[in-house]
Amino acid sequence: MNKHLTAAGAALALISPFLAWTWTPLYPGDLTLYGYPGGSQLVTLVCALTATALLAAPRLAPAGAVRALRAASLAALTTTWVTVVAIAVDLGGVVNLEPGAWLAAGSTALLAVGAHRLPDDTLDPPRPVPRLPRWAEVLVITAVFVLAMYVLTYGITTGSPEEFLAFLPAALFLGRALTVSGLGAALGALTARNRTATAVAALAAALVFPFTQSDGQYTAIADNILIFAAVALGLNIVVGLVGLLDLGYVAFLGTGAYTAALVSGSSFSTLDIGPLPFWATALLGMAVSLVAGIVIGAPTLRLHGDYLAIVTLGFGEIFRITVNNLDGSSGPSLTNGPNGINSVPDINVLGFDFGAEHHILGVEFGRFANYYLLLLAVIALVVFLYSRVGDSRIGRAWIALREDEKAATAMGIEGFRFKLLAFAMGASLAGLAGTVMAHLQTNAVPDNYKFADTAPPNSAFLLAAVVLGGMGTVSGPLVGAALLYLIPAKFEFFSKYQMMLFGLALVVMMIYRPEGLIPDRKRQLEFHEEAVTT
């Protein structure tokens, strides 16, 4: 009975995107066409398809299909209702809804109710997933990354807040469906078996993005996400692996940016150096940030917990205030104070001018696409360093310090030395990202490097990206950074309430999913098995 209800809901939900939801193309995405799903209808279609697949072939889900079906039905429900309500609100009344919209709203509700009345069939442990031949595994990994990139691209390129608002819950609930179905874990095992293939596939999928973009508008967003993500991943060493709360991390990004700006040959630079070749700038930025990391870390890393958090918060602010004052009147002349260092020229590597347009494989690469490629290389380097060092004697020492400092000390780990190493490494990676950032934004100004602001990167957002995404993982901060960049960028009209909503979202998140969106397999146990005593 419930099964039929659910099936009927899914079938009708599948049909509804092919009908018109409103009469006027004024609503973004043009939902007026019959026989051709457009705009947010596509999202409803994908959600309904997922639900149908889970319903028709429950064996697809190794850990049981019903909970995944519920998540998929919620994805369909939320995205559809967001769109339907948005149509009514935008166009001024429910009269603007065509029958297709009513059908979509009703059928997704039916689907959700039906799915939640089905008996739970969770399997613990999950059904074993058959091993595929190697080439097929690589193929699956590639397909998954292409799909992930497609989803991300869809999110980035949504042209209106309404469409993004319809996309977001669908993406989150479908992500949940992936996890509870057991497919997430199976994919994790798959990628763990094929590390190199995974890295290559991820990079290849990411490389496709600029080829799909005709103008720089969305590539610029992607650039900023990549910078944000690189820095968040660096912070993840300090926060996720070693468990140190660093609230002033953005200062190292700033250090890198100022270093790069000073040696860029900009006419605003107070140093008469440069322009240095970019490799030298990058190394210098890393080195200066590394030194800054050691200078800040050496006196503070003997502190624990909240004390460290407060002191790093202080140092972060000291950085901003210092660069604000090194203007020649209230301090030595170095940074031009609040005006910052402007007109930082574009990077030029061996004659390849990042500011100019290039044609690669017949596709036009604008300025932002050029930087996108560079930033991909930066991210690849950061991920490479993070995963190599994280999975080594040093990484084990870091995690041991996080888990139990006293026991780690008793095993012969010099806590201070290893914390300082993590701090320095995190700082230099942030510095590297900073050198690119200065060129991309053509300036280095103090206000870009605050503790908290309405847009990333700033220390609060960086920390949130790590915590929201999942501490101690590689993909967590990447996802966290993408979300935390896109949400404020897409909801600019919310700006008055942004900080409030942001705080609210974090509180909700910490209550319902303290381990982050993409939990560390081991960490997850920590948060959900409080009963185990040690």
């Binding site: 139990d404 006293k406 008793a410 095993m411 012969g412 185990v532």
Partner: protein, 257 residues
């Protein structure tokens, strides 16, 4: 038989409280020495002084003749490893990773070799893994290598702590109440394990409240009461000593158990 550990007049004061008061103790190689005493006698504090977690107010500790600096990392490197009274595992790491952390002082792979992963790095990692697995086998956790440490049974966690300590190739192992909270059968298994550890050539200094454990295993027993060493000698003599009985029970009585 050579003296492995020699503690001379070790004293630890916390403000007005003298937790450990001029304690002398030696452990010879191949020995199992017991350290007993009523709750709060200062046994754990004495361990902390030996391993550098506390800097003793007075006194010195020598290991294999050399003065031990009160730095945990140096003590571990010198060859003293320990377990804790309240289990302190790296709960979120796997069982094998816990033991591999124990190899920390015996490996020296730095940042660059972790990034470069040359042949030497790979060999060392492989070795750490092999030693880890061998030790897990030794303490009876062979089948649990990939589990998360916190999911082990209580007895399993205690044995993992021992394996982790052994991973640092110690000459002397300090066990702080290794059978606390165990059932009689697990206690017997731990006894056998401690014997096997001695047979590997590792001397053992063990704090324990279970008198049968002490009687069965120890070559020598020292009794700590209110921070000072009351008596030291063969287990049977110590058990029969009226002063020890008094320290435990407060007045002359019959058997303690």
């Amino acid at each position: 038989m050579s003296t492995l550990l020699r503690a001379d007049g070790v004293t630890m004061r916390f403000g007005g409280l003298t937790a450990v008061d001029r304690v002398d103790l030696t452990v010879d190689s191949g020995e199992i020495v017991g350290l007993i005493g009523p709750n709060g006698a200062g046994k754990t504090t004495f361990f902390n002084c030996l391993t550098g977690l506390y800097v003793p107010t007075e006194g010195e500790v020598r290991f294999r003749g050399a003065l031990l600096p009160p730095r945990p990392a140096k003590v571990t490197r010198a060859g003293i490893a320990r377990t804790f009274q309240n289990i302190r595992l790296f709960a979120g790491m796997t069982v094998l990773e816990n033991v591999m952390v124990g190899r920390h002082t015996r490996t020296r792979e730095g940042l660059l070799s972790a990034i470069g992963r040359g042949p030497r790095y790979r060999r060392t990692e492989r070795e750490s893994r092999t030693v880890g697995r061998e030790l897990l086998e030794f303490v009876g956790l062979g089948g649990h290598a990939r589990e998360t440490a916190r999911n082990l049974s209580y007895g399993g966690q205690r044995r993992l702590e021992i394996a982790r300590a052994l991973a640092s190739d110690p000459g002397l192992l300090l066990l702080d109440e290794p059978t606390a909270g165990m059932n009689p059968q697990e206690t017997r298994e731990t006894e056998q394990l401690v014997c096997a550890i001695r047979d590997r050539g590792v001397a053992v200094l063990v704090i324990e409240h279970d008198m049968r454990f002490i009687m069965n295993l120890c070559d020598r027993v020292a009794v700590l009461v209110q921070g000072s060493k009351l008596v030291e000698g063969a287990p049977a003599d110590v058990q029969a000593d009226p002063r020890v009985v008094e320290a435990y029970l407060g007045a002359p009585q019959e058997e303690t158990a």
